[in-house]
């Protein structure tokens, strides 16, 4: 049987999510045996033409050229998965979306005419249909393997859609808001990190992005009396 063809494409990003694939040290050779790595420039200079069975896309769309390129990639992809915060939300560089262009124009800069860029940084799904979005900055590599394996097998990926709070509970981590009075985005943040920040005595800062239907309105009203900051409930 023909091995499924895997391609990895990069847009505006830090490379960290595709690095997560190379960070699957225990599974990498098995993955390489199960699929044909047809296009993955960070890892290999050998490339095979599409169509591809599974395409992973990292990064956000920030240039006119990339806004075209993603359409070509979609046409070559049987299944397309956007991976990481940049590809699923526009990423940290989407902070530009909230800035006033006039403020940027007045900034000191040698040759603005050399630069071609769009005003906003946008998610892949804003441009083409996406079969699955895997959130995280960076993504969880175990979830990446699950998603890739599931989609190639034709089943639905098992990626829980609950909040980080559930991960704290299952890891036995006392709530950092209640026990330490630390502000935490866990209640509205997509799970997947394994409650990493609370495990390290830090409030969640939302690097996996919003969960489905987050109750944002309730978040600022979480009671946080000053006295809580002094009390250790453990």
């Amino acid at each position: 049987m023909r091995k499924p063809k895997l391609a990895v494409w990069k847009f505006s990003s830090c490379d960290g999510c595709q690095l997560s694939l190379l960070d699957c040290e225990d599974e990498l050779l098995e993955v390489a045996g199960a699929v044909e790595i047809a296009y993955f420039l960070e890892a290999s200079s050998a490339t095979v033409k599409g169509p591809y069975d599974l395409v992973l896309v990292e990064g956000s769309i920030t240039t006119p050229h990339d806004a075209e390129r993603i359409h070509q990639i979609r046409r070559s992809a049987k299944t397309l998965v956007s991976i990481g915060a940049c590809a699923t939300t526009g990423g940290i560089q989407a902070l530009r979306n909230f800035a006033h262009v006039g403020e940027f124009v007045s900034a000191v800069y040698a040759h603005p005419d050399y630069i071609s860029t769009l005003r906003k940084s946008t998610a892949i799904a804003d441009h083409v249909p996406v079969d699955f979005e895997l959130q995280g900055c960076p993504i969880n590599k175990a979830q990446l393997l699950e998603v890739a394996g599931a989609l190639l097998a034709g089943r639905r990926p098992n990626v829980p859609r609950h909040s980080v709070c559930v991960e704290c509970k299952s890891a036995g981590v006392p709530c950092v808001m209640v026990s330490r009075g630390i502000a935490c985005l866990g209640p509205v943040t997509q799970a997947g990190c394994g409650a990493l920040c609370p495990l390290y005595a830090r409030g969640c800062f939302g690097c996996f992005g919003p969960k489905d239907q987050p109750n944002l309105a309730a978040l600022p009203s979480v009671p946080m009396p000053t006295a809580f900051r002094e009390v250790n409930f453990r």
Binding site: K10, C14, E25, L41, T47, A110, P112, T117, F205
Partner: protein, 431 residues
Amino acid sequence: MTATKTIRTDYLARVEGEGGMLVKMRGGTVTDVKLRIYEPPRFFEAFLRGRPFTEAPDITARICGICPVAYQMSSCLAMESIAGAEVGGQLRALRRLLYCGEWIESHTLHVYMLHAPDFLGLASAVELAQTSPELVERALRLKKIGNDVMRVVGGREVHPINVRVGGWYSVPSKAQLQALVPDLEWALEASRETVRLVAGLQFPSFEQDVELVALDADGEYPIDRGSRLISSRGLDFPIEEFYDRVEELHVEHSNALHAVLRGRGAYLVGPCARHALHGHLLSPQAREAAAEVGLEPVVRNPFRSIVVRAVEVVHACEEALRLIAAYEPPAEPAVAVAPRAGIGHGASEAPRGVLYHRYRLADDGSIVDAKIVPPTSQNQRSIEDDLFAFVTENAGLPDDELRHRCEQAIRNYDPCISCATHFLTLEVERT
């Protein structure tokens, strides 16, 4: 009529980020060489403005998924210098340990998976696994141990979450670090094997005489910090003078600025510079490993940088073991860092070389402006100079081989293009 010839690679493989290469020749003479960086600008320096100083480590880490620790360290050092806070003792030892993890991971990735395939005529480490699975298994285990160090100390390997201005959110127990020791001992042996392996590769004869620049860390091999920059041609200045000595040029073919030394020109940062300037400060086994393969004290052949990287992995493993052996958990995970107005500088040695940050803060600790100079933008000019010289010397090679050799000449520097392209500070609307 004189024949003109263009050699180009649109998308370079096995580098971090997106770049291409263009070489133009007329007859046997090279007329133009460009390392083209079209990784889109991400404007980090622009959107850092107005944000609290405490956010800089987490935000700047996102510039690069391969060397996030370097960004976290340089930004923390800059912020702490403004507040007059000193992160010393075991808090600092943990930072150096985290950084050792990043060196082991990043260098091993480059040596085995990005660079070695060039020397072996292969497209990837996956191809190498078909003929020499034991080598690739060693590489993956070594890389994983670097990642393990980062995971225990920093929380995770890509964009660690435990680093903060002033120190850490929580510190590991002695037992947690001790658990890393058996693997690190294996890694030390494996890294010595790596040095022997890569020293036996065939290197094109090619030398470049460029000014080498590295941090000076007061008698230590520079990794996590350094207060001065020194060069192979006698420069020695505090990092606060960085912009008095270095100038950034904006060129049309690159979305990254080119850094050059004012009045001196191109320079080089990274493993070869660190080794040339501080080789005597390497750990005992790293020095032994270098001596065993007859590594020259100053490596001028950029193709041989792979050997220096391998030696630095030995150093990072031995240094990690030393730090763990001396570890006593500090009473507090961080020192207090109060917001204060001022200008601060921070520099550390990313795997690819010096990473410099400068911030100006307002009274309330919000960032007024930010400047970040990553290693790859400092090396770009040298990379182009190398290509020019290399193609000139090897103009007779068939095109395909010449193109391959040129790509390899670029990979010699382990360029991190995602890093190099973050710092243009203007956005142009063309929609």
